[in-house]
């Protein structure tokens, strides 16, 4: 009797509590039902699951949702390999080759001896810290500061700092995760298709006289290349020339005309 009395209350109370809670949850699940694309959960299975943020989304489920909605490519998750990308593509019924493999490219040629400095920076070796000190030590407000923040943050070791004070990309190691573009205070590294043949390696939007004064190798936006191009593949946008690779035939006329060599052929024709 004593034991019965001691067990009956806890059992009744806890049982009742659990039943009410479960009922509440069940009803709430119905009232607050939101249609979730089942493919999102399926896709999430194949993502890294570390919520690393390497894809640029707030966690893996966010990224999965973006992939399903088509806002992100199937290979958005940089933490997993091609086999997982294929699995994701299979769920969505598309092929992995939605976009070409992208790699980072350093859009500045203003090495130590070519670009002028405003002052000598001796602070913490980090581009973001240098930006806080008078906006960086380079005269050019668009150029690479060369303190290697992108190198330190590259999760795949694809970047290294060259002798000339500019980072170098190892195209084989680069996965195109875009970490470097996010950490760089000036956005110098850009993601470009791996087969890109021609590009203007400069980020400066300064006018010709300014660039002429502070950097030997920058694009001045003078327009000589534009005039030289027979295919009309080059435009000048905000004092920086832009090449449309789909029109370019690599005739090489622009290279001859460019006074600073900012326009570059990247791969053999």
């Amino acid at each position: 009797m004593e034991v019965l009395k001691a067990t009956i209350y806890p059992v009744l109370v806890m049982g009742g509590l659990a039943a009410i809670y479960a009922l509440g949850l069940g009803i709430a699940a119905r009232i607050f039902y939101v249609y979730v694309d089942p493919r999102i959960a399926e896709v999430e299975e194949f993502l890294g699951g570390a919520n690393c943020g390497g894809c640029g989304y707030a966690g893996c489920s966010d990224c999965a949702a973006a992939i399903v909605e088509g806002k992100a490519p199937v290979n958005a998750c940089v933490a997993v390999g091609p086999d997982k990308w294929e699995a994701v593509a299979k769920i969505l019924g598309v092929s992995v080759e939605a976009g070409e493999r992208q790699v980072a490219m350093i859009m500045c040629r203003g090495s130590k001896d070519k670009a002028k400095r405003k002052f000598q920076y001796m602070g913490i070796e980090d581009c973001r810290a240098a930006m806080l000190a008078g906006g960086g030590d380079k005269e050019c407000q668009y150029g690479c500061l060369g303190l290697g923040t992108c190198v330190k943050n590259c999760p795949f070791g694809a970047l290294s700092m060259g002798e000339d004070g500019l980072p170098k990309v190892d195209k084989d190691k680069c996965t195109g995760c875009g970490t470097c573009t996010r950490v760089c205070p000036r956005g110098i590294p850009k993601l470009v298709p791996v087969s890109l043949k021609i590009a203007v390696i400069c980020s400066s939007h300064d006018t010709p006289p300014v660039v002429k004064k502070i950097c030997e190798v920058g694009c001045q936006g003078c327009g000589l290349c534009k005039k030289a191009c027979p295919e009309k593949a080059i435009t000048i946008v905000d004092a920086l020339s832009v090449v449309d690779p789909s029109k370019c035939t690599l005739c090489g006329k622009c290279f001859e005309k460019c006074p600073t060599g900012a326009i570059q052929q990247l791969l053999p024709a």
Binding site: A6, T7, V11, M14, G15, A18, A19, A22, G26, A29
Partner: protein
């Protein structure tokens, strides 16, 4: 609907199972836990109120029913197997709530010693009465038949009258039930 029912059944089953097994564990450990708690809380006080004994009064405690709801723990002190006195708590109301006093009484109804077990009195003011050995010693030798009133046979600690009164009240209440308890413990 079936989903909801399934949810309820599973969760309830888990909770019921858990509560059921826990009730048994609780029953099995109840005695031990009470003993342990009393040992920390009351054992030092028991030592203080009895001059000498050789048993474990906490382990041999007797539960006495005073009324339908009130149950009191009585701690018997023994020497060489024979009962020399009993100790139990009386409660008086002080400035900061209940004041619990352990009173040790010999078989003739004479107080052997008292000790405050739990109180919420103001530190530095009310606690003067709680800590004053001189005040507490006044109760020694008094017992069944003593009036036990502050200002009468008990002198309050100056500045701590309220607490002194509460302690006296607790002891008086304890003495009142002594005859009944003595019978129960001797059994």
């Amino acid at each position: 609907m079936r989903e909801i029912v399934k949810l309820i059944v599973v969760l309830t089953a888990f909770c019921v199972g858990s509560a059921f097994s826990l009730a048994f564990v609780k029953e099995a450990t109840k005695e031990r836990i009470e003993y342990q708690k009393l040992k920390i809380l009351v054992a030092p006080a028991v030592k203080a109120v009895f001059p000498s004994y050789d048993n474990d009064p906490i382990l041999e405690r007797v539960k006495v029913k005073l009324s339908e709801k009130e149950v009191i723990n009585v701690f018997p002190a023994k020497k060489a197997g024979s009962l020399i006195g009993i100790a139990y708590e009386g409660i008086g109301s002080g400035h900061g709530g209940a004041v619990e006093v352990l009173v040790g009484i010999d078989l003739n109804g004479k107080i052997l010693g008292i000790k405050v077990v739990k109180h919420g009195e103001t530190p530095g003011i009310g606690t003067k009465a709680v800590e004053s050995q001189e005040f507490l010693n006044q109760f020694k030798g008094k017992g069944v038949g003593s009036k036990l009133t502050v200002g009468g046979d008990i002198e309050a600690v100056s500045g701590a009258t309220e607490t002194s009164t509460a302690i006296t009240e607790a002891v008086r209440k304890a003495i009142e039930i002594f005859p009944k308890l003595k019978e129960e413990v001797r059994g």
